[in-house]
Amino acid sequence: MTNKLQIKRALLLLAILGAAFAGLGYRLVDLQIFRHDELSTKAQHNTQREFRQAPRRGDILDANGNILATSVAVKTVCADPSLIGNQPDAVAHVIAPLLQLNEAALAQKLTPRSFVFKNSNGEIVTNELHYVRLAKNVPEETWQRISAALTNLTFGVDEKKLSRTNREFFRNLRRHAVYSEADQMRVYPNGLLAGQVIGFPAVEETNVGGHFISKIVGCDGVELAMQKPLSGVAGWRVTETDKAQRELVAWRDEDVYARDGLNVVLTIDSAVQHIVETALAEALQKHTPKSITGIVMRPRTGEILAMVSLPNYDPNKSSSITPESRNRVITDVMEPGSTFKIVVVSGALNNGTVKLTDQFDCEHGHFAFAGRVLHDHEAYGMLTVKEIITKSSNIGAAKIGIKLGEKNLYNYASEYGFGQRTGIPLPGEARGFLYPVKQWSKVSIVQIPMGHGVAVTRLQMLQAMATIANDGWLMRPMIVSRLQERDGSVVQTYQPERVRQVVSEATSKLMIEALKTVATKDGTAAEAALKNYVVAGKTGTAQKVENGAYAPGKYIASFLGFFPADNPELCISVVMDEPKEGYYGGKVCGPVFRDIAERCASYLNIPPDPKLMTNAPPLVVENLNHRSQNP
């Protein structure tokens, strides 16, 4: 009996244990096999964190490595109100002065609250707010002070006497309630200098899981044009964190470094840019035009050393960015006036239609053609082609245009690049207007040679002048010299690009001979002459068009020139829109040209013209090559 009873009990116990083990086994299989994917994802979600590593935006440098735009590491200060509990006032009191924020408004932000939202299943869910952004672009030092202030924060209670939960609450408040996220801010250390060329930034924000990822994007100028190389590529890190959100480095899974943006090196020279900006600002005060622009280009390469348009803007101050402060050098078109005569005369010389010595009757200042009367600013009789350039005779240029013919005139203007974008890598470049011959009126053939009936950008006009300085070769304007890594290693170099030869070398030499006479006492721009260099240039004074008609008393004055005339190093353009105190290009823009040219020549150490240095003392010291061979 006893044995049977014992056996029964043993069997019962065995059955119970067996059932229990079977239950556990089932649970094990359920957890480990059937729900493996779901639970492993959940477990990973609890411990695994993915951190995005933002790339640093590349710098913009001038030709000599001076910083024009850079990115500074800053902090975005955030808070988790759910960890602040009933202490928002105390926290706000400590950090508001450091962040220079209103204490009451900050306390309001830090107050814990809930929000209602619809989840992916369409259910309405209430959730506690865990993320508020307190301040952006906070310097590293300020964040360190905030961090120290929070660590030392006391709440007027003896925390040792508090319960464990309350102690935990205060510890979390100090450590995790206010935290920072790494960010970067775009800084333009030279302020206004080359603002329109560099452009300005904007911050693009993407909401990822309730957190905002910000990215700097360019909005104008080089910042926009070179957005891709400047941006870099973001990296990421998949890792695990402990309870205190500290990374467990040993459990780092993926670690892909961010690739910083490339530095963009411009052809702009800060010093030349500063010279031009200073000279134009002085002219702006003197002549109070609506706007004034200046460009300095190397004619042999097309490198732009300075590009200024006043009024300009400071990319650091978004309030200074207005439509009036646009880069008019490339965005605005105008009738060029007499500077366009270089196109018709060089075309006619190149075509063999005229010679510099050929004479034209300038009709004593009045020339009737197709029902219109053309005027010169002075009554000229017979003028040679060279003198037509010297005196800037409209009638002479018109007659050369007639002799050249509509088709040839159009072809040369087109070859010089008018009516097309120059291809400078800056956004917003206008094409200008150069209508095909079939759309020309009867007077177009006499209007266009004197720079009317055609609309050009200031850069196109300078490019044409630089073509003459460069033996007839049209160069593509360059603003970006190269892309390089932060350590200076070059990734890509942009080489000077010849577009086409518009006129022959011989023609360009003849043109230079004619253009040299402009900045003389017989020419229209005696004020543009330099003491130590021979200048070749052309003046322009165009009546402004408003509402389809020429506005009386409103002019665009310009002077384009290059020097030294026989070995051109710099080609400079100065254009004023509605100048006061005179309006002739030679009178108002000539002195500005001279000012810029003298300062640039000194800075760039351009050798003076030997012909103009006859009174100078002998400056040659010795032959360095010889010295190196015989120390």
């Binding site: 001076n66 590491a73 030279n190 070769w473 170099t493 800075y603 760039l604 400056l619 090559n625």
Partner: protein, 126 residues
Amino acid sequence: MAKNRKHQAASIRFGPALKASFLCLLIGGSAIGFVWQKNEIYRLGQQIGQREAKLKQLRNDNKRLGDQITILHSPVMLDQRAKELNLGLAPAQPLQVVRLDETPSPAKDKNVSRQFTQRPVAGLTP
């Protein structure tokens, strides 16, 4: 049997005891070693994390200070300082410049200006 057990040469057998002790030490040592190793991994991980943060901080500081130097050397800043300090500095006039007769190497490409060729070639090409 009992007699035989009673009259064994040595009442304590050291061999098995040593083996057991060795096994215990091995298991215990392995366990302690495992925990120590885990602690080391954690500690070194924390150090790596801290040093990475420090390195990042130093790189940022280095960049910031480098930028400061460049900005202080920029022509605009120098011009501004020269004006502020009223040093009476002015650009040299062409006649004040002493030129040394240094025979330049001829530019290979006509399209390249003299100023352009004077730049150091090293580092310009990839």
